[in-house]
């Protein structure tokens, strides 16, 4: 059994930010990431971020990832392993890790779970046909590996991810036939919607996908209009020939590893699904196991970074090795996080977090 003071699961914006603070606090840290490359989902985000300068606004996601990776590369007390999957977590902070064809056991004084999120799916006939992908998968395929997903795409969902990925498909030279949205209104920012409309992509609201058509892979989709009560309107069916369907209907926190240690969990729709109940320093009901980033509620990468910094600082303090500027930094990052959550999209997170805090005191 290999021992570490702190083990962080996940090398995305939250995990890397937590690692930086913990490393600066001189903790003996191990960060475990299952992907070939660090940076989480930032490595496929070619768009520029909003927010303040401190939150890396105006930088592209791919460049923020480089910065976060660069920030953690020179600490002797921080070990990072990629292509490694945590397959077991136990209440005594023992982890089993599948790495390089072997199972390795670790034990830590504290664990930070920064596993991020997974893409939601949609129920319709033939939804398992090859050619039907999550919007994030399409981004990964194009922007990380330089591979085109197909020739003609239909996007399902007009939230910010659906709109941004539509734009990125156009940038890569792929034809996007339309965006369909079951709700009567476009979900994402107007600025993104206008951009794709100007480029000729229609956004069909109150429309949903009824079924996918194809034998070995997707050949066409059948759409249908919805009324104000979300019921299908008979006779409004239309078939569109596409070889790729891109599903962008939101994300769910990756909570599974916390359920494994029997942490107290709660379904909070405002946070995207099932999340761990945490106290003021993001500690779960299992002593010394912490969580931060999208695993604790779906937000932007900017918020995940601020939460990561805060959780790294708080865990260092919890373990009795506070960061030299602990109090000042905690104050500052709290302030940044408050600013980020002040907008209309942040309200949802605040309501969700209030529910979590109430559950933690219950």
């Amino acid at each position: 059994m290999i021992k570490r003071e702190l083990i962080i699961i996940g090398g995305g914006p939250a995990g890397l930010s937590a690692a930086k603070m913990a490393a600066e606090a001189n903790l003996d840290v191990l960060l475990i990431d299952r992907s070939p490359a660090l940076g989480g989902q930032l490595i496929k985000q070619t768009h520029k971020f909003f927010g303040s300068k401190k939150q890396n606004a105006k930088m592209r996601g791919i460049d923020i990832a480089k910065k976060l990776i660069n920030d953690v590369k020179d600490y002797k007390n921080l070990e990072i392993i990629s292509n490694a999957t945590v397959v077991g977590l136990y209440p005594d902070k023992v982890l089993t890790v599948f790495y390089d064809g072997k199972y390795i056991r670790y034990q830590a004084d504290a664990v930070i779970v920064a596993t991020g999120a997974s893409e939601k799916f949609l129920a319709f006939e033939n939804n398992d046909l090859p050619g039907i992908y999550g919007a994030g998968a399409i981004q990964t395929l194009m922007n990380v590996y330089g591979v085109l997903p197909g020739k003609d795409v239909l996007m399902v969902g007009s939230g910010n991810i659906g709109l941004i990925v539509t734009y990125q498909l156009l940038q890569a030279g792929v034809n996007v036939k339309a965006i369909v949205e079951a709700a009567p209104n476009i979900g994402g920012y107007k600025v993104h919607a206008s951009k794709v409309r100007r480029l000729g992509v229609p956004i069909m609201t109150s429309t949903t996908i009824k079924r996918a058509i194809g034998d070995e892979s997707l050949e066409a989709v059948e759409l249908i209009s919805l009324d104000s009560k979300w019921q299908e309107i008979e006779g409004t069916n239309q078939i569109i020939d596409v070889d790729t369907l891109c599903i962008s209907v939101g994300l769910s926190p990756m909570h599974q590893i916390l359920s494994m240690v029997n942490a107290k969990m709660k379904f909070v729709p405002e946070l995207g699904g099932v999340v761990a109940v945490v106290d003021d320093i993001n500690q779960t009901s299992v002593e010394s196991i912490f969580v931060c980033g999208d695993a604790l509620g779906i937000e932007e990468a900017s918020s995940a970074m601020m939460e990561g910094y805060l959780t790294g600082l708080n865990v260092a303090k919890y373990l009795g090795k506070p960061h030299p500027n602990s109090e000042e930094l905690i104050h500052n990052y709290h302030h940044e996080l408050d600013l980020l959550r002040n907008g209309p999209f942040g309200q949802k997170t605040l309501i969700g977090m209030k529910k979590l805090k109430e559950a933690s005191h219950a």
């Binding site: 070939p36 046909l129 992908y133 085109l148």
Partner: protein, 101 residues
């Protein structure tokens, strides 16, 4: 198909990596995962469902959904979307739950 020109990203041709897919020698590139290399070759079906033998491709491409499982060098249930492509590996479509030898 691969992206050749992009307004933001730069995809230079990298070193070729040859591997075996369903008994045939094919080519991918350094930096690919098994799934990205196959997709670039036009291969979307990575496995068949256990009961009804329906074709399956990847869904999430980041190791979450288990829809990209294939047999790699005889080992079943390999998440090909996050497994780096390496020279000479043998990749096969999976038709069952996978057998541990």
């Amino acid at each position: 198909m691969r992206i050749e020109q992009h307004p933001i990203l730069n995809f230079e041709k990298k070193k070729e990596i040859s591997f075996i897919f369903e008994g045939k020698q094919v080519i991918g590139y350094e930096g690919d995962t098994i799934a990205s290399a196959l997709h670039a070759l036009g291969v979307k079906t990575l496995s068949y469902s256990i009961k009804d033998k329906r074709p399956r491709g990847f869904y999430c491409a980041i190791g979450n959904c288990a829809s990209c499982h294939m047999i790699v060098n005889g080992v079943p249930n390999v998440r090909t979307c996050i497994t780096p492509l390496t020279e000479g590996i043998k990749v096969e479509r999976q038709h069952n739950k996978g057998v541990i030898k």
